[in-house]
Amino acid sequence: MFVARSIAADHKDLIHDVSYDFHGRRMATCSSDQSVKVWDKSENGEWHCTASWKTHSGSVWRVTWAHPEFGQVLASCSFDRTAAVWEEIVGESNDKQRGLSHWIKRTTLVDSRTSVTDVKFAPKHMGLMLTTCSADGVVRIYEAPDVMNLSQWSLQHEISCKLSCSCISWNPSSSRAHPPMFAVGSDDSNVAYGGKVQIYEYNENTRKYAKAETLMTVTDAVHDIAFAPNLGRSFHVLAIATKDVRIFKLAPMRKESTSTGPTKFEVQIVAQFDNHNSQVWRVSWNITSTLLASSGDDGCVRLWKANYMDNWKCTGILKGDGSPLTGSSGQPTAMSTVVGSSVQASQSALNGMSAGR
């Protein structure tokens, strides 16, 4: 059974993204009101807004946390064609008592000529790297060579994806068997251009990212994309939010020793759910990749789980009005909840309704 609680976010406009930090104790929200708010969870479970500031001169589309190894760092991206990196400054003691903190801008990334639609940090084993994607189809990868100096970022890669990009996701696997890899989703609505999801992989020899795969079966606009945590498996799992929820399995095919190109993948669709019956806007995995959450224009958040036979089924629905739908009633003794379960924090947040971009 779920318990929902509302937090008056106080944003003056639509909220586009909500993001938990690594430990689930802090949260950042961003809005069309051009600001970002940071929330801290107190010991009794209450969320308090500890910072609120104007970040851009346009709607802020996404906000994301860096790994805590790098300190308290946020990145945001906006319609104003920029992305920014923010760091929390430990304040004066009276600020702390009042429960406030300050965030200062460390850098603004101005390379994009169009709205920056997503911003994500790369997995921490790659260092402190930030990725953005824009409406003009360009993906940019920046690196901060000195993690103690967040004002210095260098543009390492600029990749043109040809289609307007809406979302990126890095493969979190740090296995040596897997070179760095990310997926880009496009919200281009022209169904004639197939392949709205592209997978790019880093090549050690050329020191560049090259396209490894295009998912041709995804022809509708893609709103969100998420690689599942890798549990030491050889294959990758990717969830896609488009006109429905799709889960793909990408199994790397064995490379010829002479081959220098990107890995070839065997692509299989593992599950496809159209229960939202409308556009799906967000997908998000739990820590152990055993649970996927999706949210759609039907105002619902749905939870998907695979049983031990690897069959995916819906295990929960949360409705937009905040009241949780519990299991079928009329089963007196057996239906209440007591113990157990695997659902982990779905660390990111989901948009229940249209993000209205």
Binding site: V3, L14, V18, L231, Q331, N351
Partner: protein, 610 residues
């Protein structure tokens, strides 16, 4: 699991408080954006349930360490005993919950706790049956005795009523008198029934014989018993036929029950209250030597007979039926769905797996099912601020995915306090999870550094074996020294030990502090030697050379410093002077000191020689 469009079975509950969070936001139209934080239920995870988790964890760990090489005939009693331990833990928890449920003033709490008691009752009922059928695997004869125990354990109201009746002034007149007698008979407690009947003046002498024979059930071999039982059955039947009890409807009913008349049994549905009670009673009086393999025929028919056309079987009924059919897999599956309860299926499946029962049922996912359920359960525990530590042991005993699950989840444990961080670290270090150790130490070091707690940051960097970070922090220390003239966190720096070697800068810091100590203790010769070695080893950062030179000055004045050392110091000082941009006054001072020193040295040496 059926997929339902609007109301799916919501399973998945966290094992304890502070559940998982799903944040989702929506903005209806253009205004009033709210954030809705959705969590798994937390507040019902009372301290009582936590005790259940703690104690069952203890039993679980004990079970895992039972030696594999013991012959199975020795293991069975152990497994049965473990099963009973689990059940007693459930019962204890149930009783505590029940106490709160009845004593609380808060209606909501009472309902909540009451619900939990019902669930635990169901769980214990199922577990007990599984123990009888699967773990103890009672053969025909004792099977029925075990089933009788099972029913009796879960039907306490007969004893309650009996107490009421016996305590009344005239028990035989009590309105529940015959209910109690019949209740006893239905449960096969014939001695107690007889004692109750004694209160009734009209005890038929023949009845005594009836009861006596029944008591011999299970004390002989099956065939001997069977023969005796048949004779007895015939005798009871004869009593019925010749209307021995026609005068008393109750006694007649008892007689019919003893002969196993189904219709009479069904007339007393309210006393039986459940179909499985009906089943066991029917078996007792019709087929007491029932074999395990025959159970499911009777179970199915009893269920059908007991439920009238209006009521449908409930999930609990299906589960029990599956158990009577010895379909372990079905039991586990149905329990997982119906009870929303990973604790139960995880522990039961684990025990059944140890009994080698899953394999013998030809499930190709044998131990994978066990692991799957344990992983689910343990993952749920991980969200709780203190129960997560129990989860670690469960992951340890999941050979395929336990380690990676633990790695992924343990690094997400919020490091609220240093104590908690150390706890987490110890767990990781014990399991050689070096990447997690490094990461956690780095997070703590970073946090300390941001809050300007250099000593803490340094000690975390050392623990992380993070040379780069240690260098950075050492730099800060040295900068602080230059600015303030003193060191902070002396304790830490003084006791670095071999950790000092982690980075050059750190080594320098340690040695430099040592130099200060020596100087402070007026051990000038050693201080000079140390200073010299610091200069020669070239591990001093350039930014620090000026400071070192300034430190060298007073040393040069000291008598204890030997000529050779002085000379070397001078040499280094000169070299450094040449390479450095230093303020003019300082240069002058140094030159003066050097000159004086050299003069003194020459005089001294000259004097000695002379």
């Amino acid at each position: 699991m059926e997929e339902v469009d609007v109301e799916p079975p919501v399973t998945n509950i966290p094992a304890a408080a502070a559940g998982k969070h799903l944040g989702f936001a929506w903005g209806p139209g253009m205004c009033s954006p709210f954030i809705h934080e959705v969590r798994k239920d937390e507040d019902i995870y009372s301290p009582i349930l936590r005790k259940l988790f703690n104690e069952s964890h203890h039993i679980f760990v004990g079970l895992q360490t039972i030696r594999e090489d013991l012959p199975s005939k020795n293991k069975k009693p152990q497994f049965v005993s473990i099963s009973k331990n689990y059940r007693s833990v459930i019962r204890a928890c149930m009783e505590e919950l029940q106490q709160v449920a009845v004593s609380t003033q808060d209606a909501e709490v009472a309902t909540q706790y009451g619900d939990q008691v019902s669930i635990l009752l169901a769980i214990e009922l199922i577990w007990n049956l599984c123990e009888v059928l699967f773990i103890d695997a009672a053969p025909a004869g004792s099977l029925l005795l075990h089933l009788l125990d099972w029913v009796r354990l879960h039907k306490a109201d007969v004893d309650e009523k009996a107490r009421d009746v016996l305590q009344s002034e005239s028990p035989a007149e009590h309105e529940s008198y015959w209910d109690v007698v019949l209740g006893y008979v239905l449960q096969g407690r014939l001695e107690e029934a007889r004692q109750m009947l004694v209160k009734q003046a009209s005890l038929h002498p023949a009845a005594r014989n009836m009861f006596k024979l029944m008591d011999t059930l299970g004390t002989q071999t099956l065939t001997e018993f069977d023969v005796k039982w048949r004779h007895w059955h015939e005798e009871v039947d004869r009593c019925l036929q010749d209307n021995s009890f026609a005068s008393n409807q109750h006694l007649e009913a008892i007689c019919k029950i003893l002969v196993g008349d189904e219709d009479t049994l069904l007339e007393h549905k309210d006393l039986l209250s459940t179909w499985y009670h009906f089943l066991v009673t029917r078996l007792l009086f019709c087929h007491p030597t029932v074999k395990p393999t025959e159970l499911h025929y009777y179970a199915q028919s009893c269920l059908t007979m007991f439920l009238d056309s209006r009521s449908a079987p409930e999930p609990l009924d299906s589960i029990l039926l599956a158990a009577f059919e010895f379909d372990i897999h079905q039991v586990i599956k149905d329990c997982s769905i119906a009870l929303n309860n990973w604790w139960f299926v995880a522990h039961l499946t684990d025990l059944l797996d140890h009994c080698k029962l899953l394999q013998s049922h030809n499930l190709h996912f044998g131990s994978n099912l066990r692991e799957f359920l344990l992983l689910e359960y343990a993952s749920g525990l991980f969200t709780h601020h203190s129960l997560w530590q129990l989860a670690v042991d469960y992951f340890d005993h999941c050979p395929e995915f336990g380690r990676v699950y633990l790695e992924l989840q343990i690094e997400r444990v919020p490091l609220d306090t240093e104590r908690k961080a150390l706890k987490v670290l110890r767990i990781c270090e014990q399991r050689q999870m070096s990447e997690q150790v490094r990461s956690i130490c780095k997070i703590m070091a970073m946090r300390a550094l941001r809050n300007n707690r250099l000593g803490s940051a340094l000690s975390w960097s050392i623990r992380a074996k993070d040379a780069a970070f240690a260098t950075l922090i050492s730099e800060r220390f040295l900068q602080d020294y230059c600015a303030k003239g003193t060191f902070s966190d002396l304790d830490l720096i003084d006791n670095l030990g071999p950790a000092m070697l982690l980075s050059d800068r750190l080594t320098f810091l340690g040695k430099y502090r040592e130099f200060h100590k020596l100087y402070g203790e007026k051990r000038f010769r050693e201080a000079a030697k140390l200073l010299l070695s610091l200069m020669t080893a070239k591990i001093a950062p350039r930014s620090f050379w000026m400071t070192l030179l300034t430190d060298a000055l007073p040393l040069l004045e000291q008598k204890e410093v030997s000529f050779q050392d002085t000379f070397d110091l001078q040499k280094h000082t000169c070299v450094s002077l040449q390479e450095e941009d230093i303020e003019v006054t300082k240069v002058e001072l140094l030159r003066l000191a050097l000159a004086r020193n050299l003069a003194m040295a020459i005089v001294k040496e000259g004097t000695v020689e002379a």
